[in-house]
Symmetry: D2
Subunit: 199 residues, 4 copies
């Protein structure tokens, strides 16, 4: 699923479904959890969401592979939600296809600027400076990087509450919408109830 000019979000693995949450919650009430009536499941999920009784949602886990500009990544990691593995910018190569160009600004102007930054970066590299130093001249907020993100359903809802919000930066909202569509696929009942709750 493509996002912005060079970004994407892929769901590369997940574990558990709506029933996993019900079973985990019923264990905490001493129930058997083997024969589950759908209407009852829905009612229990709704109660758990309303009462902010979050631990049962921690037994459903997602791993995403994401490509996003630094500006977005920085907001993503800020609230320490889930586990991250990100490309180190200390070692990797950079090229013009790795900078985010928003379509609300004069694109030629921006591309020309990025090109000059890149030329200065290459000049510093040629002079023998390490990538970790040379990158200081790059448009750092625009640089794309790739990361692995593993997160449970409780933390994912926390992320969505913050990042689907209309006050969040436009770019991260685009990523949050794709993450939300994967959430809907894996946990259709929880997803529906979550959005009903949030209204």
């Amino acid at each position: 699923m493509n996002v912005l000019d060079h970004g994407f979000v892929e769901l590369i693995d997940h574990m558990g479904d709506d029933l996993t949450i019900v079973k985990a919650a019923r264990t905490s009430y001493g129930g058997e959890g083997h024969m589950i009536d759908p209407a009852l499941a829905e009612r229990l999920l709704s109660t758990l969401l309303q009462q902010a009784h979050g631990t049962p949602f921690e037994h459903v886990v997602f791993t995403f592979y994401v490509r996003a500009p630094e500006m977005v990544f920085r907001q993503w990691v800020r609230h320490r939600i889930g586990s991250f593995n990100v490309q180190s910018r200390r070692y990797t190569q950079v090229g013009p296809e790795e900078f985010y160009v928003p379509n609300t600004v004069n694109q030629e102007l921006i591309r020309e600027h990025y090109q000059k930054c890149l030329e200065l970066y290459q000049a510093l590299r040629t002079l023998g400076h390490k990538p970790e130093t040379a990158r200081l001249v790059l448009p750092g907020y625009a640089v794309y990087s790739n990361f692995y993100w593993t997160v449970n359903a409780r933390s994912l809802m926390n992320f969505l509450t913050q990042r689907l919000d209309s006050h969040a930066q436009w770019e991260i909202q685009q990523y949050a919408q794709v993450v939300d569509s994967f959430f809907a696929e894996v946990l259709p009942i929880t997803h529906r109830l979550f959005h009903k709750e949030s209204v």
Copy 2:
């Protein structure tokens, strides 16, 4: 997999394998991660374990369903490793099959004592006391309860380091050994290297 007299450990779900860890780690080095030579994978996993570079191991996740005496459970939750959902003892029924009897003590003596505790518990219930109050007369450390435990591979190794240790209480060592055997099934290479490292 049975443990002690009435306990067990089941692996009810898991996500990821040895290659997941390698791919997550290589992302952080900017690599492609698609064609992975087995010898190279092993070398990378070994380096990650030696350097305590733990984040790539957080992308492999296990969910266990466990039945253990309170004494063991209390040690399990103590280090805040992973996510738990446990049967609440405020609501559940208790019967004689729910107390742990170690085979190193006079079993008849213990069973008779547990029986008296249970009779007093029932008497208090008959008098109208809630289970949450009546349970005060029960042999609390011996009471079995069931719980869901979701944990990533990094935290699981942390748990094993502490609980397989010969200074850990004997009962929790029994549980840790079963958890370790599931770890070996899901992550054979990491498991082998982890035990080599620990020696």
Copy 3:
């Protein structure tokens, strides 16, 4: 501050006050944070609480020293809020003054039962069993232990929301009320706004 028959809560150290939260939050808005108008401070704290914007509250930290029955302790640690150091029951001595006797039950009946449990415990010790095994015959939920608890203001409010609630077990509500009174001393403005919000 005494709680129940043999318990207590002491605030042994704390760091920061209402202004610390304001300063930390204003840094995140780029402000100077040196001259702070009280009315403005109150308005900012109120906004932070309403928007569940919790990170500024993490810069105020409390350390409590608590003595509570196992039944209460178990609920306390369950949500992995803050840092704990608790007396290990594997090594410590036990005496009759270390069991919780609720005043809603026949106290003589309970004390007599506890006394019998204690005698059996001592008999097992005399037979050479370790404390960690012998304690299986004790009324585990009633045993008092002491613990250190270090927690930031954000997590403390989370604890209070759960444990001051009228559905929480009566005993832990008693502890939560004392914790709440220390919260009021250290963070008077935040405390007032928090209780206004919660209504």
Copy 4:
């Protein structure tokens, strides 16, 4: 304490000392913890460090106020150690004094480049673009920002192990050394033993 060209680290508050750790640890061994022999305290701290028995160190807490380039900040937050509040770059003004110029490169060249970036930034602002969009043309890795960092002694040692290491980027090593000097002031015994252990 100044770091790099425009950065600094201030210790603005702390809670606890070497004895706090000893007392917290002794609670977990059932001791009184009131009369503590210095030699005994040192031996206990040494044992705790060697056995990676980290929870007692969580009862000592530090709050730092730091100014660092984005490049350094990004590495700082990456391991989710402690609590952060950082100036949002979505709202703040930028000026030439807010970019890091390393003294290993041609400083005139860098300053001239930063100046051009800043002029383009201002031009975009004049055209009506928001700061959060206009900053895409800035040298993002070099931009300074200020943050509050609250961290306990256990996590602080974890940070120092990673960031004092000679493989860490030179700039973050400079910050880690200042943090280490504050650690030495607050916890002189633990600091000495920690560095002995690490060798």
